[in-house]
Symmetry: C2
Subunit: 246 residues, 2 copies
């Protein structure tokens, strides 16, 4: 039975918040229920995979599907819980579509936490955390991750730096050109990448960042990257340099 | 005068196909003319920068602006021509928005050539080369590149391999998991990255690729990356490993 579920459940992976264990029945919220019933045309007995960021990955089956919702029941564990690298992405929010894209890509590239920050040149005045989370959940489901990155409350750059955990190195992607390449500067986790808004950091912010002893300015190459490109390139390069354990 | 233009022309960079030299007058096509007149509200005497992929970057000024179009005249060279790394991106085309995004990002990350390929699981049946080029031009203008990547004619994977220039190493981003990390396998240019369609390469294609002595299978980490994420991560990691000269 578990093997059959493993086979059939290879396509659909769902993130749930409930605890997972053998024969744990999990009633799904409206969104995933609708997706299973009306998009995937799933029926009772169909297999899928579940993960919750704590209990590994489980082969499961649909055990109830009514108008009131879908219940799935975990049957057999298919993977032990593993952690992504302890790597945060601190980013100045950008216009809507790039932010969706950024949340997806950062999740695929293994960021443990997405931290929106407000800087002086940040144009966006509001961050839709639910929307970032929805994009991160979808990307986690599709990429085979066993966890969803934490979406942190937006803070100003000043507050971020004032309350920074000092053992975590902050790689500041600086366009000024006199910094070391990230791949050479990278150190093991805990770590964080910091990227600016469309217009970059202003001179006072750059000076403030460079004055912190937990900050390492880094360059991503000779071209001027868009804010979202810089974030993705930095995550990929750091993971690559540190041997991305998944 | 040239200094003033350099100052004023810091914001607008335009790719042109004409030769550039001191006092070379370049009539612009309709698209850039419209952009300068109606989006940027530019007037005769306004400064901008020009590049053509051959003659470096030039400070220029608008010397005519009429209903029939805009003429710009190069005044002083502000940068010598430099080459990006000889790195190609061979990719199975994906749905419209990701392809636009991919062309932009690959340009920012310094790809010299974008080569669309058709594979067995490629869903897209047509590639809009003009649209890819328009995205690449815009990204080159904004990223400070002095060249625009070449947009190659789409070919099938079989044809690509049959006519492959053997001195160019092809890094095949393989999801199977038994390949070496790209950062470890990377060799100096000439090089090319190969990424598959949404559904990946089929088993026969994977066998064909692995049978070529110019192909190196590589992994980008333990998670399953979307086609466009894989392409961007691979470009960033190769550039980082090879010291991206720009």
């Amino acid at each position: 039975m578990a093997d059959e579920l493993t086979e059939a459940g290879g396509r659909i992976r769902l993130y749930v918040t409930a605890d997972l264990g053998a024969d744990a029945a999990v009633p799904l919220p409206d969104g995933p229920s609708h997706y299973l019933l009306h998009v995937m045309r799933a029926k009772p007995g169909d297999g899928l995979r579940l993960f919750n960021g704590r209990d590994g990955e489980w082969a499961a089956e649909i055990t109830a599907a009514t108008k009131r919702g879908v219940t799935v029941t975990a049957r057999a564990r298919t993977a032990a819980q593993s952690e992504v690298s302890d790597l945060w992405l601190c980013f100045a929010p950008i216009k809507k579509t790039p932010a969706d894209y950024l949340a997806q890509k950062a999740t695929e590239l293994g960021a443990a936490r997405l931290q929106p920050i407000f800087t002086r040149r940040t144009i966006v005045s509001r961050v839709n955390q639910e929307r970032l989370l929805a994009n991160a959940v979808e990307a986690a489901e599709q990429s085979g991750r066993l966890s969803v990155p934490q979406i942190a409350e937006p803070v100003t750059l000043e507050k971020l730096l004032a309350s920074w955990p000092r053992e975590r190195r902050l790689y500041f992607c600086d366009e000024s050109g006199d910094a070391r390449p990230l791949a050479q500067a990278a150190q093991p986790a805990p770590a964080a990448i910091l990227t600016g808004p469309e217009g970059g950091f202003d001179p006072a912010e750059r000076a403030l960042l460079r004055a912190q002893n937990f900050v390492t300015p880094v360059t991503l190459g000779p071209r001027i990257l868009r804010a979202d490109t810089a974030a993705l390139a930095a995550l990929a390069v750091w993971q690559s340099a540190m041997g991305d354990q998944g």
